[in-house]
Symmetry: C2
Subunit: 395 residues, 2 copies
């Protein structure tokens, strides 16, 4: 038995962690644009990165260090440092060398970036800015704001986890999302800090397990970024740990942030949960659920608040999973619009289905009627705002 208690502080909630965000002029109008996370003792870490083969420089840089303990992450927005080749990695080395020079307490620092692809890092600006960091600040709010790109709100959460024996640890997180969000891997940037006393292998195992049903189940646009990163840092300062409790807390945090990211997807007005049951196996359920969350025709129907269930059926059929119109059933929340060949949708039912579509969050449930496979995916609608944001992203 254990209890989770929601607390403030984000990535600074756990003992020994510090963070802040400052403005150095990468974003317009003095918005916060670089952040740090610092722990006053060394951390083990677990990580999940993008499966995009054009992996960004910060991820390549991180992977060169494999199996290190460190205590500092520098994060910048507006520039992804992707497609920048060996020079991009050298840029990171230079930035981090200068930061370590100024702050000798920093060990094995790493970097994380998000923004435009294919432009060299504004090194001088970032170094100059980072020298102004105050490592005694514990401002999880500013840190979470500094890593935003097209996000419209910052995303953070923290829990205090109390174990049966009375000991407790904290786990906190921040994330950014908005675009290039695709369910095929851990997308976006997410930083999780904890003072739990956990070894690297255990933590990596738990992170991998949680990723599939949280970040990997979330989609904004089906596009897979070059920079996706989930990084968990554990400094052990609480002395407490329990694998089940840690997993529950981590999963809850990751699911919350995944859903927040979808809710704040570029131009999104709706958070839709795609629940697929009755597939031949869990993998087929996942394929169907992700096909739904990525279908342009489904997404635009959501935007139009149109209970166009035919597009749901067509998308399941097109996804390649075993299915048949005589065994398929479809619900909008608890309104069944199609049941195993019965065209239930008529003028009487339409207002009920339409009322569901008008909600800011609802569930589309497809029972495929072929087996026991289940999966839940999270998606949003696609409206004019998405087109507007992405038609002139660079400007």
């Amino acid at each position: 038995m254990f209890t989770l208690k929601n607390i403030d502080g984000g990535v600074c909630a756990a003992t020994g962690f510090y963070a802040d965000g400052i403005a150095i002029g990468l974003k317009k109008e003095g918005a916060l644009d670089i952040a740090f996370i610092y722990s006053d003792s060394l951390c083990v870490n677990a990580s999940v990165f993008t499966t995009n083969k054009m992996t960004a420089a910060p991820i390549r840089h991180f992977r060169q260090k494999e199996n290190f303990q460190g205590n500092f992450v520098l994060i910048n927005s507006k520039n992804a440092n992707a497609m920048t080749g060996p020079a991009g990695i050298k840029d990171i080395d230079e930035v981090l060398f200068r930061v370590q020079e100024a702050f000798p307490q920093i060990q094995n620092p790493v970097m994380s970036s998000t923004g435009v692809i294919g432009v060299r890092l504004p090194k001088a600006k970032i170094i100059e800015g980072a020298l102004n960091f105050d490592l005694t600040h514990r401002d999880g709010v500013s840190a979470s704001e500094a890593i935003m790109t097209t996000d419209t709100f910052s995303k953070r959460i923290a829990f205090e986890v109390t174990l049966e024996n009375g000991t407790s640890f904290c786990i906190g997180a921040m994330a950014k999302g908005a675009g290039m969000i695709n369910p095929a891997m851990a997308t976006m940037l997410c930083f999780i800090t904890t003072d739990a006393l956990v070894d690297k292998a255990t933590m990596q195992g738990i992170l991998d397990e949680c990723t599939r049903t949280t970040f990997n189940a979330a989609s904004v646009d089906g596009d897979t970024s070059t920079n996706d990163t989930v990084l968990v840092m554990a400094n052990g300062q609480s002395g407490a740990f329990d694998a089940d409790a840690f997993k529950e807390a981590l999963w809850t945090i990751m699911l919350f942030l995944a859903k927040e990211m979808v809710r704040d997807g570029e131009g999104a007005t709706k958070l839709v949960t795609y629940k697929v049951t009755g597939a031949t196996d869990d993998h087929e359920a996942e394929v169907a659920a992700k096909a739904l969350s990525n279908s342009l025709l489904v997404k635009t129907a959501l935007f139009g608040q149109d209970p166009n269930w035919g597009r749901i059926a067509s998308t399941v059929g097109a996804s390649g999973v075993m299915c048949d119109e005589e065994t398929l059933s479809i619900w909008f929340d608890d309104v069944c619009v199609y049941q195993k060949g019965d065209l239930l949708f008529d003028e009487k039912l339409e207002p009920f289905a339409a009322a569901v579509m008008q909600k800011p969050a609802f569930t589309i449930h497809c029972d495929i009627g072929q087996g026991e496979g289940n999966f839940i995916a999270y998606g949003c609608d696609l409206g004019h705002e998405y087109v507007k944001i992405n038609a002139d992203y660079r400007t």
Copy 2:
């Protein structure tokens, strides 16, 4: 040796074929909404249908007849007769029975439908309308207009093929596209008629071969319809045939119609050719090319006329094909913006790249630098009009 000569007439170009489109009130404002194609002698046929497992009733009905010779196709727009179960097939039988009763010269008629999914066919209206068909009409223009849904222009083409021995045959076609257009199969409706003297097996083989690089290479929105159909009818009346000439004519017709469909994609303002070279094999090239033509971020950048080459690179990387930023090169028409790790894109180059993006049709070429695999795919941009059309398609 053989020559292809572009001629008028669409599906009526070949000897013995008749067609027309009439208005029966399925569409608003008296627009043409049902069409027929009739041959005054029996035809062998070849076909490619959707791979969507929620196959529409007309396709299931067609497949029940396997290996038949017929001479009549009835086509309606506004209603897809999909997700309508066994009742949907009975509706077709009833419609065609009544049509055959009125026109005894019709043998083995089939039906094809396009429109909203999940609504029973307006049988009575269609029967009443079809009884007004005049099977002596040769109006390929009206027929091609009657099958349009969100298409903004009708699509047809015909060739006279003259062989080395002086004999000749004709091959004509019409198609509709606009939405639910996905490169994973022959999408949309396309009807091709010919008086070439060809057997079913030969024609099916040639059709399958041509499909991969034409309709299967075209994408509007990555959504796969329940009704996609390509049907070729050959009545043999010319007495002439040559496999190479037939294939060349068929491929030219199918590529033309595929590109026309993309150019007229819902809300599209641009026709973009994605040329992928240097993949490890042709299949990997196809995967990368189709990933590009389906990426929302690429499509919205096209709409914004933004030469955001980083999204091209990221999409290739995310597609899963073997690739590396050190071997990749990217061109917009003949403007090279990224070459094997060199960030060529700067303020001097940007106006040249931007000028390409402003053209109504251009080529994005990615050389992956890994092998000899090639593929060309066709896609369009995604703008506000797509969102508008699909947010309230049913109304």
